[in-house]
Amino acid sequence: MREYLTAECYKLFRRKYFYGALIVCLLLEGLLLWSSWFTSINGNTHSTFAMAAFMLQTLLTVGMYATLVTGDLAFSDQYRFTTLKNEVSYGIPRSRIYLGKLAAATLAAVIAAAVMLGFYLLGAWLLLPHGAGDGEALALAGYWIAGAFPLWLGAQGVAILCCFHMRSAAAGAFLSVFLLAVLPCIFQMLGYLVHPAFLAVYHCFPGDMLGRFPSDMLGQPVIDWSYAGRCWLVGLAWLIGSTAVGMVLFRKKEIR
């Protein structure tokens, strides 16, 4: 597995796609920081480091969709380029192929997340005014990230499952969006219209959990570790479940 992962990293980090996507995200973050800084120097007293850190919560769902990009990056359009046959033909177990690409996608996602979060927080720290709430804001940001991480992992599992089982990358992305964004909406609707049990299912989707982090109550920041614990349970369940389904389906899949 170590050799397989080394090879995946060799390929992955030679792609301009990875750096291009990262640069675009960093530019967008830069734009956000610049606008915060610009309003700050023009007298907006709310534009502080603490406020910038609070804004991270709204970006958590973006992290979930970013897993579609890292999944595609690691899978590298194998069906279009017919490269998967070069792996199975030489006796590399299909389980290793599946897990190897999942691990590579996760690694790319973690690196990209670390760079983007680091850039954002460091930029905000350097550019924006500081105040008494900085420590609290940072703690809250850490709590969100700690809770969001397993949910991102779950989404990554779903993205890789779709990459492996759809012959076109576009169809894979479409299926991922359906599973991560459309399906929960259907459950939500069924919950309101048919039975409240569907709402319970809806609350177990990564997208919903990322959007429901308790952040403040009566103006006071709240860190609810039991919610973060639930995020870990749900996120890992999605990761394990999607990986198990993906590996079973891939076991006998025709490779061309």
């Binding site: 050799e3 397989y4 080394t6 090879a7 995946e8 060799y10 390929k11 030679r14 792609r15 301009k16 796609y17 590298s76 380029f81 017919t82 490269t83 998967l84 046959k85 070069n86 792996e87 199975v88 033909s89 030489y90 006796g91 590399i92 177990p93 006998k252 025709e254 490779i255 061309r256």
Partner: protein
């Protein structure tokens, strides 16, 4: 240890109701160059795809290097070199980067392994040119390089000379013959270019509609394809006597009581027929026979179809 490199028993692949490969029993021995001959859709590629685990057989067994089960087969596949259909590589990587990726993945020791095969196929000077900018012939050569990397014991090549220029075909043939001679590499090769196959193969398997019609050695095929005069007579034994006495012929074969094949006097069929008639043998037909690989195959499948 076994001298059988590849054995299949009852190997079958069905796609819904269509049978792509039908109960195939194949035997390939160590050091053989096995030519797989069949027209489009005969099952050649499906057979190779099953051997390389790209598709799962519907029934039957495959044994690579004497492996007892699929788990052992998987281990043995590390000893394969394969090229199935068009070569697949990452378009944004160079030839060297593509091969380095697979070298790392398969734990083939030494970076030299990549240089060796690139030199062998003449792609060692492609530098930073990416796979997407390669010509068809270059892509094919890179596919061969991948198949050769790691010094395989069994090469499985599906239409490997498609897209190669005449010079490339000669180089490729010499390379395969050298590998076979020097390293005893066993080769299973399918090709539509039958004369080219005839220059390589030591053994043939003829496929049609997923069925292995015949397995035959190159020597056996040569014997079967030998030029002769086939004579249809009322009494083959009597005809043999006449041929011996009147023409001094010794090189003949009585196939049935009414058919005899004469391997000498091929340039003078009139003299032969005259001798037979004068000797009291009733001759109903006399035809020149003898075939190359293509003709033999077409006869075997029962007529001219796409080979």
């Amino acid at each position: 240890m076994t001298d059988r490199v590849l054995t299949t028993r009852g190997l079958t692949k069905r796609y819904n109701s269509a049978v792509a490969v039908d109960h195939m029993d194949l035997d390939i021995g160590l050091g053989e160059i096995y030519g797989l001959v069949g027209r489009n859709g005969a099952g050649k590629t499906t057979l190779i795809r099953m051997i390389t685990a790209q598709t799962v057989p519907t029934e039957g067994d495959i044994s690579l290097f004497g492996a007892k089960d699929e788990r052992e087969n998987r281990r043995m596949r590390a000893r394969l070199g394969t090229m199935v259909e068009t070569p697949g590589f990452y378009p944004y990587l160079t030839a060297r980067q593509n091969l380095e990726y697979y070298r790392l993945q398969r734990s083939i020791p030494g970076r030299r392994a990549v240089d060796e095969v690139l030199e062998a196929v003449g792609l060692d000077k492609t530098g930073t040119k990416r796979f997407k900018d390669f010509s068809l012939g270059m892509k094919q050569r890179l596919g061969l390089a991948l198949a050769l990397m790691g010094r395989p014991d069994l090469l499985l090549l599906d239409e490997p000379i498609n897209g190669l220029d005449p010079e490339g075909i000669v180089e490729f043939r010499d390379l395969l013959l050298r590998l076979n001679r020097e390293r005893q590499t066993t080769i299973l090769i399918s090709s539509h270019i039958l004369p080219e196959l005839a220059n390589l193969a030591t053994c043939y398997g003829f496929l049609d509609h997923g069925v292995l019609l015949e397995q035959i050695s190159a020597a056996g095929l040569e014997e079967k394809c030998r030029a002769c005069l086939e004579l249809h007579v009322d009494d083959a034994a009597k005809a043999a006597q006449v041929l011996e006495l009147e023409l001094g012929a010794r090189d003949y074969e009585v196939l049935t009581p009414r058919v005899i094949r004469l391997y000498s006097h091929l340039e003078e069929p009139e003299r032969v027929t005259k001798a037979l008639v004068l000797g009291g043998v009733s001759l109903s037909a006399a035809e020149s026979r003898g075939a190359d690989l293509e003709t033999y195959f077409l006869r075997l499948i029962g007529g001219v179809r796409h080979a």
